[in-house]
Amino acid sequence: MTNLFIGFITIVATCCIYLIAKRLHKRWGYPFTVPIVTSTFFIIIILLVFQISYETFMIGGQWIKELQGPAVVALAYPLYKQRDILKKYLTPILIGSFAGVFIGISVGIFLAKSAGFEEAIIISLTTKSVTMPVAIAINETLGGVTTLAAIFVMIAGFGGIFFSSVIYKMFRINDDVAKSVGLGCGSHALGISKALESGLREGSISTIAMIVSAVTVSVLAPWLVELLLIDS
């Protein structure tokens, strides 16, 4: 009974905090006021101040988490809606996402392994460029630390928002389509918001790139993890 009560309160409170965070972001619109950052920040502060453990929070949290699965399935819909653009740019998007996934994961595993981190932590690093629901799903399948995975996903998102222009200048990537592919593959939803600044078509290409690279990572990551992490 108490658990049911605690669960109910956490769900309602989390939803309220989320709705407020969403409204604040609409008003301010800075990259750092995205609802996921502000709501996480508020909830952590509340938990720390009232000395509530994460395990208690998760009594309700696990119910919210249950919708992550259908959220991934729902991503098929934007992909379907943009199928004409998908067809038009199929090869650049496929090759781009494959290159990014392959290089990103391999270098990530190599660096983290050299630094001496344990396996589960390195697995959570491999999914950093993937949209959050898919990243969490892959970590649950491969035995990564989902929370760390979620944090790395956030870092990847902000990395794209703040540094993509510098990177594109450095590597002379000036094609709008290519830029959108890079943002979608590297920085998921936050990358899409950046690509949208250049136009709706760029946003769509970025969305497709994000979903395609999410599928690519879920196929390649287990294989690369086994090859580079477990065997050697």
Binding site: Y54, Q68, A76, A112, T146, I167, A178, G182
Partner: protein, 120 residues
């Protein structure tokens, strides 16, 4: 009210596809997450017109617009890792950032190269 009902029914429908994806994953012992399998199934069913977009549209839009809510439980888990990131974990932040820029650069470069080839 009708709208809310539609959203709920659509989400239940998406949830069923997710469950089917999970079932396929365990039945064939696949390493791809069940939800991703579910997404591929839905995409195929939509493009082959087996499922009409109108059957899932409202639920899918609702979930995608509020995607962030479902990940708050995961990110709040940071509370258990505050010490970790204050210590050796900080290095991982730098690695994650470096690799992200690498992904953006290589994806962008590779697709620009493909686009250039197409035009010639």
């Amino acid at each position: 009210m009708l709208n809310i009902c539609q959203v709920i029914i659509h989400i239940i429908f998406l949830y069923c596809i997710y469950r089917i994806g999970n079932w396929i994953q365990t039945a064939f012992d696949l390493i791809i997450p069940g939800s991703v399998i579910g997404m591929m199934i839905l995409f195929i069913l939509l493009t082959t017109n087996v499922i009409k977009a109108a059957w899932i549209e409202k639920g899918a839009n609702f979930i995608i617009n509020n995607l962030v809510l479902f990940f708050i439980p995961a990110t709040v888990g940071l509370i258990n890792y505050l010490d970790f990131f204050a210590g050796p974990g900080f290095l991982l932040i730098l690695i994650a950032l470096f690799c992200t820029l690498l992904v953006i650069a290589s994806s962008g470069a590779a697709s620009q190269w493909m686009l250039g080839r197409k035009e010639k």
